[in-house]
C-alpha cells in the first residue's frame, strides 16, 4: 500500500502528472478576483474566504477524472482489481485518493495563505480558511473518486465527473466557508460548522472508497 501511495505521488509530480495544473488554476482564479471586484478592500476581505474556497474546490476537481482512467488506459486497473484478495479494493481506492490529495490538493492548502494576502484577509481569517481547507478538501477528493470511478470507461469523462461531483460537494463548501466566517466574526459560531466539516470528511472517507470500489468492479469489461 505504501508502494501504491509512492507510485501515485511520484506520477502526479512527474511530467504530465497534473499536480501543477491545479495550483496554477487556483492562482489564476484568485489573482483575477481583485481585478473583477475592484479596489474595495473591505469587500475583498469579506469575500476572501469564500473565493479561496471556490477556487480550491474547482482546482481540486480539475485532475480528478484521471484518478482511475490513467490506470485503466495502461491496464494497471485490471491488476489492482485482481489483487482485491490481498488489498481490499476500497483500501486501494482510499490510498489512491490520499496520494492524489497529497500531490495535487495539499499544495492548494499551502498556497491559500499567500493568496489570502491578495484578498486583504486578516491573519485570523487566513489561518481559519487554511485550516478549513485542510480539513474539508479531502472530502472533495473522496467524493470525486466516486465520480471518477463511474466515468472511468468514458474517454472524455472529465467534465462529466465535475458535473456529477459538484452538487455533492456543496455541503463541504457551505460548512467550510461558514466555519471560516465563524472564526472572523463574533456573531457566527466557528466550532459547530467546523466539526460538521470534519464529520463530512470522515463520512466520505468511508462511503467514497466503498462506492468507488463497487463502480470499478463493474468497469472491467
Amino acid at each position: 500500500m505504501t508502494a501504491l501511495f509512492i507510485r501515485d505521488f511520484r506520477l502526479a509530480l512527474r511530467a504530465g502528472g497534473g499536480a501543477l495544473v491545479g495550483i496554477l488554476f487556483f492562482l489564476a482564479v484568485i489573482t483575477v478576483v481583485p481585478f473583477g471586484v475592484g479596489p474595495d478592500l473591505a469587500l475583498l476581505s469579506r469575500i476572501g474566504p469564500a473565493m479561496l474556497w471556490i477556487g480550491a474546490l474547482l482546482a481540486a476537481l480539475l485532475g480528478l477524472d484521471r484518478l482511475f482512467q490513467a490506470d485503466r488506459d495502461d491496464g494497471s486497473l485490471d491488476l489492482l482489481i485482481m489483487a482485491a484478495d490481498r488489498h481490499m479494493l476500497s483500501v486501494t481506492v482510499l490510498v489512491k485518493c490520499l496520494a492524489h490529495w497529497t500531490a495535487t490538493v495539499l499544495p492548494l492548502v499551502i498556497a491559500a495563505p499567500l493568496l489570502g494576502l491578495f484578498m486583504n484577509m486578516t491573519p485570523t481569517a487566513i489561518g481559519a480558511t487554511a485550516l478549513t481547507l485542510l480539513v474539508g478538501t479531502p472530502a472533495i477528493t473522496l467524493i470525486g473518486a466516486v465520480g471518477a470511478a463511474l466515468a472511468v470507461s468514458l474517454p472524455r469523462g472529465g467534465l462529466l465527473v465535475s458535473v456529477i461531483v459538484l452538487p455533492l460537494t456543496i455541503p463541504v463548501l457551505i460548512f467550510g466557508v461558514s466555519a471560516a466566517y465563524g472564526a472572523m466574526t463574533e456573531t457566527a459560531p466557528f466550532l459547530a460548522p467546523f466539526l460538521i466539516l470534519a464529520a463530512i470528511t470522515l463520512f466520505f472517507a468511508v462511503i467514497g472508497p466503498l462506492a468507488a470500489a463497487t463502480a470499478l468492479k463493474f468497469s472491467t469489461d
Partner: protein, 201 residues
C-alpha cells in the same frame, strides 16, 4: 493444484460467444487457446482472471495451497503492459513486486532473464514495443503466482525473445505452475493442450 472449468460460457454485449467449455489443467500443464479474431480468447482469459463474470458455468482452482481463490493465484498479462511511461523500469517493477507480494526473483535478476539488464534507469515510455513487452514479462517473474494468464504474450517480440520466453514458460511449468495462453503464434510449448475456439464462423 488443478484448474477446473465446467460448462463455462461467456458473452460480450449480450451475445454468447462461447458456451459449455470444459477443461482441466493439472500442475505443470499448459493450455493454448487459439482461434480467429473475435472467437472469445481474451474474454475467456478475463473470465478466468475474475475480471468478467461468466454467463454460466464456473471456473475454480482446486487444492490451491496458500492461495484462497483462483483470482489471487493468477498473473494476468493482458494486451496492455500495466506499466507507467513516466516511471523508470525499476520503479515500475519495484511497485508491482511490492504491491503483488510473494517476491520471487529480484528486479536485476528478472531483467537479466528477459535480457534487458542495464536499462533499469530509463523511463518505461522510452522503450520500444518489444522491450516494453519484455519488461511486462519480467513482472511475471518478480512475484510468484502459480497460474499465468497470457493474452498474446509474444506480440511485438523478436525471435530471440520468443525463444527466451518459451524457456521461461517451460521453467514455470517445471516448477508446477499452470500456463493459459491465448495466441495466434506457436509459443514453443511442447505437450500443451490446445483449445480451439471456432467463433461464429
Amino acid at each position: 493444484m488443478r484448474l477446473v472449468a465446467e460448462k463455462l460460457s461467456g458473452e460480450r454485449g449480450g451475445e454468447t460467444i462461447f458456451s459449455d467449455l470444459d477443461f482441466v489443467i493439472a500442475m505443470g500443464g499448459a493450455l493454448l487457446v487459439t482461434g480467429p479474431n473475435g472467437a472469445g480468447k481474451s474474454t475467456l482469459l478475463r473470465i478466468i482472471a475474475g475480471l468478467l463474470a461468466p454467463a454460466s458455468g464456473d471456473v475454480r482452482l482446486e487444492d490451491s495451497g496458500s492461495f484462497p481463490d483462483l483470482q489471487s493465484a493468477c498473473h494476468y498479462l493482458g494486451h496492455q503492459n500495466a506499466m507507467k511511461p513516466a516511471l523508470s523500469v525499476r520503479e515500475n517493477l519495484a511497485f508491482w513486486q511490492a504491491f503483488n507480494g510473494e517476491p520471487r526473483k529480484d528486479i536485476d535478476e528478472a531483467l537479466e532473464t528477459v535480457g534487458l539488464d542495464g536499462i533499469d534507469h530509463l523511463p518505461f515510455g522510452y522503450l520500444s514495443t518489444g522491450q516494453k513487452r519484455r519488461i511486462a514479462i519480467a513482472k511475471l517473474l518478480v512475484s510468484h503466482r502459480p497460474v499465468w494468464l497470457l493474452d498474446e504474450p509474444t506480440a511485438g517480440l523478436d525471435k530471440v525473445s520468443e525463444g527466451r520466453f518459451a524457456g521461461l514458460m517451460q521453467g514455470h511449468l517445471a516448477e508446477g505452475g499452470i500456463v493459459i495462453a491465448a495466441t495466434h503464434l506457436p509459443l514453443g510449448l511442447e505437450g500443451a493442450q490446445e483449445l480451439r475456439m471456432e467463433g461464429r464462423g
